[in-house]
């Protein structure tokens, strides 16, 4: 691992952590259920992207598979909760 990738990780990981933090604050505060689902969707996407970056950082290829499965499960969960809010479930 070269030094440029370490510098980029020092830039990228705090930004991603702040993104998860803001989404979690909206998840706690949100006045309606739809706000919480939007925050959950954004959190799931951010964690999917950062798991791939952590796989490159730790040099573990299996993290990419974990990110793919996490994205699929987050998508299914969001669709189910949205159908429940709509009243069709």
């Amino acid at each position: 691992m070269d030094i440029a990738f370490k510098i980029v990780c020092f830039i990228v990981l705090p930004l991603v952590s702040l993104g998860v933090l803001f989404s979690f604050l909206r998840f706690v505060k949100g006045p309606t259920a739809a706000d919480r689902v939007v925050a959950l969707d954004t959190m799931s996407i951010i964690i999917t992207a950062s798991l791939v970056l952590l796989g490159a950082l730790f040099e573990r290829f299996i993290y990419v598979d974990v990110a793919l499965i996490y994205g699929v499960l987050g998508f299914i969960g969001v669709i189910v909760i949205a159908r429940y809010i709509e009243g069709a479930l």
Partner: protein, 124 residues
């Protein structure tokens, strides 16, 4: 091949900035529909850019040989995000409208209301 690595690092920084701005929009916007618009679009672009950056960074090995396994799985995840994230955004927006949430500003025109009323009239 060094140039491909630096292009990948640039994509990573760009994606992280877009992810941060999307989450900031989630926190700052006043309404469900504004939060959807701010959060989902920019987080889609940010996640696709960050994952493409990692795939480009890992494209060449330490000895200069091509390694396709990272790039192929990165493209699979990018295609999945490009299909799934607008779908879930649409589902949340439709659910918020059907559950009776009004937009933040006073609405002057509501095209979806007319369309949905006409559809329900035809069905019934």
């Amino acid at each position: 091949m060094e140039a491909v690595k630096y292009i990948g690092l640039g994509f990573m920084v760009l994606g992280a900035i877009f992810l941060f701005l999307g989450a900031l929009g989630i926190y700052r916007m006043p309404d469900v529909y504004n939060r959807l618009q701010a959060g989902t679009k920019s987080s889609t672009l940010g996640a696709m850019s960050l994952i493409l950056g990692v795939g480009l960074y890992q494209l060449y090995g330490a000895d200069g040989s091509l390694q396709w396994n990272w790039m192929v799985k990165s493209i699979i995840i990018i295609v999945f995000i490009a299909i799934a994230n607008p779908l879930s955004s649409h589902a949340i927006g439709r659910a918020a409208y059907k559950s009776g949430l009004v937009p933040f500003l006073k609405k002057k025109m509501d095209a979806y209301e007319e369309v949905s009323n006409k559809e329900e009239g035809e069905v019934e």
